[in-house]
Amino acid sequence: MDQRNNVGIVIVSHSAKVAEGAADMVRQMVGDRVPLAAVGGNADGGLGTDVGAIMGAIDRAWSEAGVAILVDLGGAETNSEMAVEMMPEARRERIVICNAPLVEGAVMAAAEASGGSPLDVVRATAEELMGG
């Protein structure tokens, strides 16, 4: 199966280590059937998030089926929203930011995506973690 047919997953954390660790868990538990990119830290290598780096991660994980972004805290979400705003218009509507915990959401979203589910289903699966 061509992984580019499946929804891509982007992990955005304030910490590069958290982002990489979450991506490691996705790879080990779900495999390599989904495009995946992880980004963390600011431009100086400290804790934070960077709009340009997030845009790069969206590009790396890009799929025609769309991309689901998982974020950790405040700035990760607002900078991800800004990154989405700066993407080409044709892509914007195929990028969603999930309201879900970073690690669990990334694994669940990737598990859903690996079966070929569309973007809205991938997002719903990640966000299901927040409900009962």
Binding site: M29, V107, A111, T125, E128
Partner: protein
């Protein structure tokens, strides 16, 4: 449409933990049939294509996983799931 049922004993060390759960949902999603699992013969039944729900089943080693499927490829789906459990989710 005939409902197909089967069951298999969880013999792998960790049971239906995170990674086996993901493998089970990935496999179930390959079939058009509705596929459900339960840890008792009379349910409650859980959608085998939902990674979040399957992970909440928390079936342990030594428990029996019951399966049922409905649809044109229900038999193939149940056979594949039983096979995955019997192969210990390819983990051991």
């Amino acid at each position: 449409m005939q409902e197909v049922k089967a069951h298999a004993l969880l013999t792998n060390e960790v049971g239906l933990h995170a990674r086996p759960s993901v493998k089970l949902t990935q496999l179930a999603k390959r079939f058009a049939a509705t596929v459900e699992v339960a840890i008792r013969a009379d349910g409650p039944w859980t959608d085998a294509k939902s990674p979040v729900k399957i992970m909440r089943v928390k079936a342990a080693k030594g428990e029996t996983l019951f399966m049922r499927a409905n649809g044109s490829d229900a038999q193939a789906a149940v056979t594949a799931l039983v096979d995955l459990v019997n192969r210990k989710f390819e983990e051991e």
